[in-house]
């Protein structure tokens, strides 16, 4: 609450003290006097892009031939504090990805939904955008499925796991660059880092919705780690 109050307070102070504004040489690139916060710094922001993760875990091998997990990435953030060229923006992010392969003739699939709370610190460079550091704690739902004809029903496992991302990147302001613009701004950004997901044992069981009347044993495929390095390329709109 305090940072938001501080930001709003700064805005109100700027509006209520034109004399100070006139004496302070904080002119935008257009030369027009600033009457509100710089929306290149203080903003709502929605980003959407591609995230590629490299997962070297042997437990991931049955589900991928190249150790990569492609994901769709969506995030929304709001600047809640800024000072000089530094700001802080928390938000909410969702990554969704799936992979599939053939393991000894069986088709396998893995899907992962990752819900995180990105906590982003930004260093702004005016019209050139900003660099950022992001920590994103959250949870990941990992579902795996193996279709093996030796099991009357698919072998599955779904688990919610603790997850955290640590990354660094740069957001480049595409348009409009001027401070006074009132239209939404378009950004391109990229970041890279390491995504940590708690390990899980791959103990798969046949789906209980089976037509089979017999009990079924579990299948232990070892330990799955979805942790690994990642990069993300995204486009964002801010307003």
């Amino acid at each position: 609450v305090k940072p938001l109050t501080l930001v709003l307070g700064l805005g109100v102070a700027a509006a209520a003290s034109p004399a100070i504004a006139q004496t302070t040489p904080q002119l935008p690139e257009s030369g027009a006097p600033s009457t509100t916060a710089d929306t290149r710094t203080v903003m709502w922001r929605v980003e959407m892009g591609y995230r590629g993760s490299y997962l070297p875990s042997a437990g991931y091998d049955p589900f991928s031939t190249n150790d990569l997990l492609p994901q769709f990435s969506l995030a929304a953030t709001r600047t809640i504090w800024n000072a000089e060229d530094v700001s802080f923006a928390p938000g909410l992010a969702w990554d969704f990805g799936s992979a599939g392969a053939t393991s000894r003739g069986d088709t396998t699939t893995l899907t992962m939904n990752r819900l995180t709370v990105p906590l982003e610190g930004r260093l702004h460079f005016g019209q050139w955008g900003y660099a950022f550091l992001r920590a994103a704690p959250g949870i990941a739902a990992v579902k795996v499925q193996v279709n093996d004809s030796s099991s009357p029903d698919p072998l599955t496992r779904t688990r919610w796991l603790f997850a955290t991302d640590l990354s660094a990147g740069y957001a480049w302001l595409v348009w409009p660059k001027i401070r006074a613009a009132t239209s939404p701004r378009l950004w391109f950004q990229g970041d890279g880092g390491y995504g940590f997901v708690a390990d899980d044992s791959l103990t798969l069981v046949a789906n209980s919705s089976s037509s089979s009347s017999l009990r079924s044993s579990s299948v232990d495929l070892g330990t799955l780690s979805m942790s690994g390095g990642f990069f993300r390329l995204a486009a964002a709109l801010s307003f």
Binding site: D106, V146, L214, S217
Partner: protein, 516 residues
């Protein structure tokens, strides 16, 4: 195996050993085996599986594994272990000593089919055998090339300890390896094979009547360890060849075979040594004449050139026989030491089985052959351990039945099935499992005491079944029936073998997905 099922996972170069676990679960143990599996054979006691691998060919710095033999053992405590031996050359066939002393790897009759891995080496020696000692001070295998006269080994037989030389005062018990090639029989003294100065050379016995230059292919043999005699039948000759291993002080071996021929009037289909009330004989079946011939082996011992034979007419052209003396004798307290043989045949015209008493005993005072009528030819006779029962599998033309032969009651109870069954007898002798391996989910357990079948079913088609022991295999310990489903990465349905019930059965899927 008695306490486990071994699945060879050649693509992963490993063996997956399934053993009993409570509540119809399975323990899985993964053991590495050599690359490019060629064949496997279990020891007669059911405790060890021998696995032959060809290794890498051509060998490269990254793939340079030698041919090997892996012995996988599951002991009575269900402890799984393995031992690996290397070889210089790949081989595709195995012979396992029933006494557990030796294993022999050899080229075999169909190497190309068994050798399904990498390309064959350019040059091979089909007469090389590799003998692995399993007990004693010597632990390294020894390769040996059999002398060849254009022949290659086809079948190997380990003899029980034989008193050799036959009839000699200094005779000593020793074991022989008998090698049937496609042209002759070879005799190798195993007791001196691992001597420091090297193996004694084998003795090659060509099979010929002496009337023509044609050499004959052996078709089977029988051994009398007490008198040092080997009886050999051939694929195309009416003679039985009796090889008496007499003393020969001047040769590399201290014995040499004296060969006698006994004409049995037709090509014999099976033979064995039997005790009759007039002494030991070779019993040979001649289905083309519907008779059996008893050959007096004492004539060969005395080196008389003419052997004495006695022909017995049989009611049907039986082609196979096995001794059931121990099973029958307990009911015949006043019996002599004469044997009782079970006769059957899968040839056209034969039907049922017969018990052939080779002496006049209190049990069969009035006739020597007792027929148990079964309408169809019997394809095979399976032993039931620890019992007086045999399972008779009829030929496919009869379809849908098998028979439980009670040697005491001399009855053959039919058990009907809706399709031609495959049979698996529990190693504890308490039950027999019948299933249809042709894409069927039907299974039945038949209690061999009550002959009451318990119908069962699985979710997936059954390819084969195994009845394995859990802890305390010699007592009333738990047992599991593992029905293998050859689909996907192999699955199994596990039943409580003693009380099979689909409500307590469990599916164990994806047997090959787990593990390293």
């Amino acid at each position: 195996m008695n306490s486990g099922v071994v699945i060879i996972d050649d693509s992963a170069h490993r063996a997956v050993v399934l053993t009993w676990a409570s509540d119809q679960q399975l323990n899985r143990t993964f053991l590495p085996i050599g690359r490019n599996f060629t064949s496997a054979l279990a020891s007669p006691d059911g405790q060890t599986l021998f696995v032959l691998s060809a290794g890498d060919w051509p060998r490269t710095p990254d793939h340079n594994q030698s041919p090997s033999l892996t012995a996988i053992t599951v002991d009575t405590n269900m402890k799984v272990s393995e031992t690996q031996f290397s070889m210089a050359e790949p081989h595709s066939s195995l012979a396992v000593d029933p006494n557990g002393d030796y294993v022999v790897a050899f080229h075999g009759p169909n190497p190309a089919r068994a050798f399904n891995g990498p390309p064959m080496p350019f040059a091979e020696n089909p007469n090389e055998i590799v003998i692995f000692p399993l007990r004693g001070a010597v632990t390294k295998p020894v390769s040996y090339t059999l002398q060849s006269f254009g022949s290659t080994p086809q079948r190997l037989t380990f003899t029980q300890p034989m008193n050799l030389p036959a009839g000699a005062p200094n005779a000593m018990a020793r074991r022989l390896l008998l090698v049937e090639t496609d042209l002759n029989v070879k005799i190798l003294d195993l007791s001196h094979f691992f001597d420091a100065k090297g193996p004694r050379p084998e003795i090659t016995v060509p099979l010929s009547t002496g009337m023509t230059a044609q050499q004959l292919a052996p078709a089977g043999l029988a051994v009398d360890p007490d008198d040092g005699i080997i009886a050999v039948r051939t694929t195309s000759d009416t003679n039985v060849y009796l090889l008496t291993l007499l003393a020969s002080p001047t040769t590399a071996n201290d014995f040499n075979p004296s060969i006698n021929l006994a004409d049995v009037g037709g090509i014999p289909s099976d033979l064995t040594f039997v005790n009759t009330d007039t002494g030991k004989r070779v019993a040979a079946l001649v289905p083309t004449k519907s008779n059996a011939v008893l050959i007096d082996t004492t004539t060969s011992l005395s080196q008389v050139t003419e052997t004495v034979t006695t022909t017995i007419a049989l009611p049907s052209p039986y082609s196979k026989l096995s001794l059931v003396t121990s099973a029958v004798a307990s009911a015949c307290s006043g019996s002599t030491k004469a044997d009782v043989a079970l006769l059957w045949g899968d040839s056209v015209g034969s039907s049922g089985v017969a018990l052939w008493a080779l002496g006049v005993s209190g049990c069969t005072p009035y006739r020597s052959v007792q027929v148990l009528a079964i309408a169809d030819p019997v394809q095979s006779v399976d032993d039931v351990p620890r019992g007086k029962l045999k399972i008779l599998e009829a030929t496919a033309s009869s379809g849908g039945a098998f028979f439980v032969l009670n040697l005491l009651d001399r009855t053959a109870a039919p058990l009907l099935t809706t399709s031609t069954p495959a049979i698996s007898i529990a190693p504890d002798g308490a039950r027999v499992w019948a299933y249809d391996p042709n894409n069927s989910t039907d299974l039945a357990s038949v209690d061999l005491t009550t002959l009451s079948p318990i119908p069962l079913t699985t979710t997936l088609p059954i390819s084969t079944v195994y009845d394995i022991a859990g802890p305390n295999p010699d007592s009333k310990g738990p047992r599991s029936l593992i029905a293998i489903h050859n689909t996907g990465t192999l699955g199994a349905t596990v039943f409580d073998a003693r009380n099979p019930d689909t409500t307590t059965a469990r599916i164990v899927p994806s047997l090959l997905l787990e593990g390293p």
